[in-house]
């Protein structure tokens, strides 16, 4: 039986760490002790096997991916963290076909910012500019239908609010369209408008501030953003089951509401995002991985419209705004995302077709419309009234 110091002597010899004196002692040991020879031979074989295996060449894309995801040296660039993340995301998606990237926290996070932002707007329609909302009953209008049931009598041209809506040719044209009829007949849409989550979000001060901000309106009005909205991949993603499942995922919602995520959105330290439990939970979520791996998602991120929108100053101002961050962190927004009616209507093609238009925004800003849209009978009365109205 070898003593411990003899075993160590052999190991050190294998590692080339013995002094000349120790080497002499080692040689003497293996000459006289069979067990020592067996141990030495076995250890050398292990080391030789390691040497034979050697080091592997990293995948060729790895170097480029690392470099593109790195933060810029501080004095070299004024690009924001978010913008760098977007650039990184583009690169990540180029190789997404090879595997789902599970550790590209920040990069993926930036895309999530964009998607959430887009969906946040879609849900209620983009509110009109500040001046319009007061004239036709925007979000700050008196809740004149609260406390009593709206009747068909309210849905007539005698109602000044309805009259104002129908005086707008675009609105009138929209209300008479088949797409609009489909949306009005959609149970999810009515359920959504009747939901507490929807009412809370519309009444949410952060929401109103974010939507009313100049940066937000610039973003919505930008060509890049409108192109993105019309992008088939974008529409496919929004309609996909994986995306809907993702929005219902509590880890995703927690991440959106997390302080770390807001710091990322604000272009500050994003290290904490990667370390957050919510992000780790999200990574384990199959819907999330499905979204990240989907062709639609890859197409979106690769699209010029997406990259322009993300790189725009307007987008970055919105993402960095206190109002937007408060909105993301609000319970109302999380409730909304968790609502199946919300997910269903956002996935509806007819809804998406009409939601980006100014006419629909005008309608959505009307309290009368939001109230009547909760009822199929009142919706039909509204559309009948539109048909009777002279252009």
């Amino acid at each position: 039986m070898l003593k411990q110091d003899q075993v160590e002597l052999i190991h050190r010899e294998i590692d080339g760490a013995n002094t000349p004196e120790e080497r002499a002692a080692f040689r003497s040991l293996v000459e006289t002790n069979a067990e020592a020879r067996v141990l030495e031979a076995g250890l050398r074989s292990v080391v030789q096997l390691f040497d034979r295996v050697g080091n592997r060449e990293p995948p060729p894309h790895l170097r480029r991916a690392i470099l593109d995801a790195l933060p810029q040296p501080a004095r070299a660039s004024s690009r924001t963290t978010l913008q760098r993340a977007v650039d990184g995301m583009r690169l990540v998606t180029e190789r997404m076909g090879e595997a789902i990237m599970s550790r590209k926290a920040v990069l993926i996070g930036s895309a999530a910012v964009a998607i959430v932002l887009v969906v946040a707007g879609i849900v209620t329609g983009w509110p009109p500019r500040g001046g319009e909302s007061g004239t036709i009953g925007g979000v700050e209008a008196a809740a004149r239908y609260h406390g009593r049931a709206m009747t068909e009598a309210d849905v007539s041209l005698k109602n000044p609010e309805i009259q104002a809506l129908f005086q707008n040719d675009q609105v009138l044209q929209l209300v008479r369209s088949d797409a609009f009829r489909q949306v009005m007949d959609n149970q999810s849409y009515r359920t959504l408008l009747a939901s507490q989550a929807y009412r809370d979000i519309v009444a949410n001060q952060a929401y109103q501030q974010a939507m009313a901000s100049q940066a937000y309106q610039q973003l919505m009005g930008s060509q890049a953003f409108q192109t993105l909205q019309a992008n088939q991949a974008y529409q496919s993603l929004i309609a996909s089951q994986a995306f809907r499942d993702l929005q219902a995922n509590s880890a995703y919602q927690s991440l959106m509401a997390s302080q770390a995520y807001q710091q990322v959105a604000a272009g500050q330290a994003y290290q904490s995002l990667m370390a957050s439990q919510a992000f780790r939970d999200l990574q384990a979520n199959s819907a999330y991985r499905d979204v990240m791996a989907s062709q639609a998602y890859r197409d979106i991120v690769a699209s010029q419209a997406y990259q322009q929108a993300m790189a725009s100053q307007a987008y970055q101002q919105v993402a960095a705004s206190q109002a937007y961050q408060s909105l993301m962190a609000s319970q109302a927004f999380r409730d909304l995302q968790a609502s199946s009616a919300y997910r269903d209507i956002v996935a509806n093609q007819a809804y998406r077709d009409i939601v980006a238009g100014q006419a629909f925004r005008t309608l959505q800003a009307s309290e009368a419309f939001r109230t009547l849209a909760q009822s199929q009978a009142l919706s039909q009365a509204f559309m009948r009234e539109a048909m009777r109205t002279q252009n």
Partner: protein, 183 residues
Amino acid sequence: MKETRAEADEQDRTLVERYLKGQRDAATGLVDRYHQRLFNVALRMLNNVQDAEDVTQTVFLNAFVKLRTFDPRYRFFSWIYRMTVNESLNALKRRKPTVTLEDEPDILAPGAPPDRGAEAEDRVGRALMGLRPDDRALVVLKHFVSFSYEEIAGVLEIPVETVKSRLFTARERLRLALGEGVR
């Protein structure tokens, strides 16, 4: 000619300083010097190419973000290897316990050497995965990065004597695990 440790340290220091002065090409220099080595450490720690890529990217991202707080009196290589080992250990903790090598037959597929090389690779991978992760780190740093005991101690921030005793024990386990077929 192979770079000495002192030369390597000096080169690292220069690149770090240049990066902190805003020179982007210094980052490229550091990535070029280390990305292959760190990838291989992560690969041996995790036995999975994809996870190793993820760890390597994360380590560089973290390293460059934290570089401003890096104390130049310390060695860059110790710092970044330590991050790699720690990030690999974190990745192992996050792994689903039900996922085994058998569940992922293509786990070593991308870029794996063919025929006998692949077999050796597979055997080494499995044997290393049979070690405790902390001990695996010692073996990987010794045999795949060729660090001295002292350098390993510096990376893992443990005494040299601890490095030796744990390395020897781990290597004995490998000898027994790989058995006669090791030759």
